[in-house]
Structure formats: structure tokens, C-alpha cells
Symmetry: none
DNA sequence: GTGGTCTAGACCACA
DNA sequence: GTGGTCTAGACCACG
């Protein structure tokens, strides 16, 4: 829930991803009004221009819509949201597999490593719970 | 097989990844002499400075070693190579899972999507073969 | 026929254009009383202030006149209406041609494209009719 | 050739249109390097950020491509340029006809006015020539 | 020298 | 109070 940014990538990109995540997870409901640009800026200790840039990305993806002088709202079209989730998910898998193959792993090996790590991660979670 | 770089990330990083991949896959054998900086620069139509930086990354990781006035060679220590592969592989999996969860997917869903895409990718490959 | 506004331009401008169109087309007859500001506001789900501004534009153009405590009426002077139509029409043509030339089209090409699109548009209309 | 901007629309939009026009007309050749962001800024007496924003629009349309730390170049794909010209041209015609109809003109009337104004414009040009 | 990113701060039209 | 636009100026990685 904290707004932590790493220095390796542009803040506005990380911010866009964070808010996107919030929408896809339903933390921001469909049709809901987002915090204002200035509120976001305060929350994240960031310049309003940076927020605007981040939200511009979301608007391009069709995840949010701007109502002039009223605010920015999560889109009402559920299909947009689902589409984004699917697209981004598939892209992630494709990139992941491509990167693993660049390391010399075969399809089967990728599957094995993935399974191992996934289970390891889940057991970590239950420890923390 | 061409040296294609995207504009979104530094060229020297992409180059380092590409050569790393070559080493991990065995295209450059253990102990083998790498092409000279100039040769790399010509192959990739890139500034020699850029090649220097890329190779510096590899040297830092212990994948290659410089022999003064002779050239740069792939390390002879197999453990180095295996370690790199493992580290990088685990990091990739962890990042992948983290990103997927940011999209709102559960552990099981990630597994399903991964399996689907992996199989789709493999059938594509066999088509092209 | 609904009151739809796009977010890229001020609502009051779009509203002014819409009502102007109604007058020029004769949907609001000469001398006819216009709906009250409040009625317009309800019809368009818009702030009354916005309606005020829109009607102010029309009054400036001489298309409507305010009678204190009675309402706003379409002008009785037909010349006003004709003049507005002519001015606006010519301005539109001039802008259109200027914009097309900015795209690199010659006068003849503009004519051809215009004719093609116009006919295409008309055949679409007759389909819907 | 002068960089004149009107106050009614954002500078970065007008700038984007102006440069787009230059590309479509061939004043900037395919594959040619554009002036740097800073040069544009000086030419137009405008802040570099504003230029960046303008060029970002062109990049989105696929008319130009950025090579990191080298400059921005007109795309090499002629199809992109032709496509843009066609799309923009058709959009202009459609908007024009729609606006004229909103003034109460019939299809035939639009054609007549268009022809008259077009010829008037051309005779003006020959006078100046 | 190039583009990319970010900040601080300002003004504006609009609702 | 909202988003939109713009400026001035800074720093950075890269080539």
C-alpha cells in the first residue's frame, strides 16, 4: 500500500503499473472516481506532472476516462479491463518464456523451475500468514 | 540472429544479455576467446564504447575474464556459469509471479495461463520447424 | 438526438453549436421561445451555468434575444440567421481546404476526395433510411 | 514557414500538426533526421518539454521513430505516411460534411458552396503568384 | 550533444 | 477544486 519507487525505471511507469494493478484487482471499482491528480501527487510525494503522465498511460489503454473539470474515472466497460488483464498476462508469460530460453532452459525445465519456485513462494506466504 | 536492439532500454544492457545468452547456451564454449571489442562493434553496428560496457557487465558477473593484450575469454569455471543461470532463472520466475499477481491472478491461475501459453508456443515452434 | 458531449472541448461550446444547429435547421422557429435555462440544464444533465454561457454565445451572434422575465427567443430577423449560416459555412469550407492542403493535397485532389466521401456518406444514409 | 501559434488550442497540438504537415508534404524526407528537441524549441521559441510532447504525438502515429541518444527520424515505412494522410483526409471530409449539415445544408448545397469557395481560393492564389 | 525524466510553480478555463 | 497547459531549469544515462 506504500508508494515505493525504485530508481531503475521511470516513476511514472511504476505509478501507472501500480494504479493499473489497483484497477485490475478491483481496489478501484468500475466507474469509480479516482483520486485527483493533486491527491495522487501528495500520496506518492511526487510532482503532479508525473501523476498526469502516469494516468495518461492508463487513459491510452482505455482503463480510465477523463471528465473535464470533474475528475478521472475507471472505465465502465468491463471488457476493457478484462482485455487489458489478458493482454498483459499473455505478454508477461511470453516474455518470461523467452527470457528463460535465452538462459538455455528447455520448455520442460522452465516448467519445473516455475513449479518449484511457485510452491516455494506459496509456502512462504502461509508462513507469514 | 541479427543484432537487433529496441530503443526502450540501453543498448549495452541488451548486448550484455545477448552475449550472456550465448555463453549460457554454449554458443561460446568455456575457455573460448571472445571476438574482440572491435569485432563485436562491427557485428552489431555499435560504438566500441558500448561493447566495452557490455563486456564489463559480463566480467563483473564472472562469466568472462580479461587477459591483457590477448583478449577476453569465457571463464573456465563451470560453477560460475551454472550459478549465473540459476540466479537469473530464479529471479525471472520471482519477477514473473510477482507481476502476474499484480494483475490480480491467483497462484493457480498463473499456473494455468503459463501452461496454456507454453504449449501454444511449442506448437508454433514445431510448425515452423 | 441525445445530448452527448465529448471531453475534448468545453461543454458550453458544444452546447452552443447544438442549439445553433437547431435554429439554423428550423427546429427552433423564428420568434419561438426557447426552453428555459433550467429546462436545458435538465435535458442535458448539465450545470445551469454552462447553459448560460452557451446561450450567451448565441445572443452575441444575434441569433437569440432575451426578454426580461419572459425568456429567450429566437430572433425574428431572418437576415441574422441567413448571415450566420453563410459566415459559418464559408469559414468551414476555408478551414477544410486549408487543412487538406496542409496534408499535401492539391485542389483537384481535395475535390476528388470530397466527392468520394460525400457519395459514400449519402449511400450510407439511404441504407439506414 | 514561421512558427505562429494561436491561443485557442494547445501549442503542442499545433506544433504536432505543423510537423506532420511537413512530413506529409515531403519537407522532411523519409528516414531523415529531424532537428533535435532543443533545436525545435529554439526555432519555435517554445519550451523543450512542449516540443517533446508534440513529437510524442507523431511517434504514437508511427510517423517518426526515436533512436536513443541519436535523434528522432522520419519513419522509413512509406505505408505509414500514406495511411496517415488517408485517415486524416477522410476524417477531415467527414467532419466538414457533418458540420455543414449541422448548419442545415443539404448534400448538394455543400457541394456547391465547396466548389465556389474552392475556385475563389484558387483565383486568389494566382493573383498572388 | 541527444533524448528522457522530474520538479517547482504558475496560469487558465471550466463546472 | 478539477484537469490542462506551459515554462524554467535541472540532472541523468547514453553514445
Amino acid at each position: 500500500m506504500a508508494w515505493q519507487f525504485t530508481g531503475d525505471r521511470p516513476i511514472y511507469i511504476q505509478m501507472a503499473e501500480h494504479i493499473t494493478s489497483g484497477i485490475l484487482k478491483g481496489e478501484y471499482q468500475m466507474g469509480e472516481k479516482l483520486p485527483s491528480v493533486r491527491e495522487f501527487a501528495l500520496m506518492a510525494s511526487v510532482n503532479p506532472n508525473t501523476v498526469q503522465r502516469a494516468l495518461f498511460e492508463l487513459e491510452n489503454m482505455g482503463l480510465i476516462e477523463t471528465q473535464r473539470n470533474t475528475g478521472k474515472f475507471v472505465t465502465l466497460e468491463e471488457s476493457r479491463i478484462e482485455m487489458s488483464r489478458n493482454e498483459m498476462g499473455k505478454a508477461l508469460v511470453a516474455d518470461f518464456i523467452k527470457s528463460m530460453k535465452a538462459l538455455g532452459y528447455s520448455g520442460e525445465q522452465i516448467k519445473d523451475i516455475f513449479e518449484n519456485e511457485r510452491k516455494a513462494g506459496e509456502s512462504n506466504e502461509s508462513e507469514n500468514a
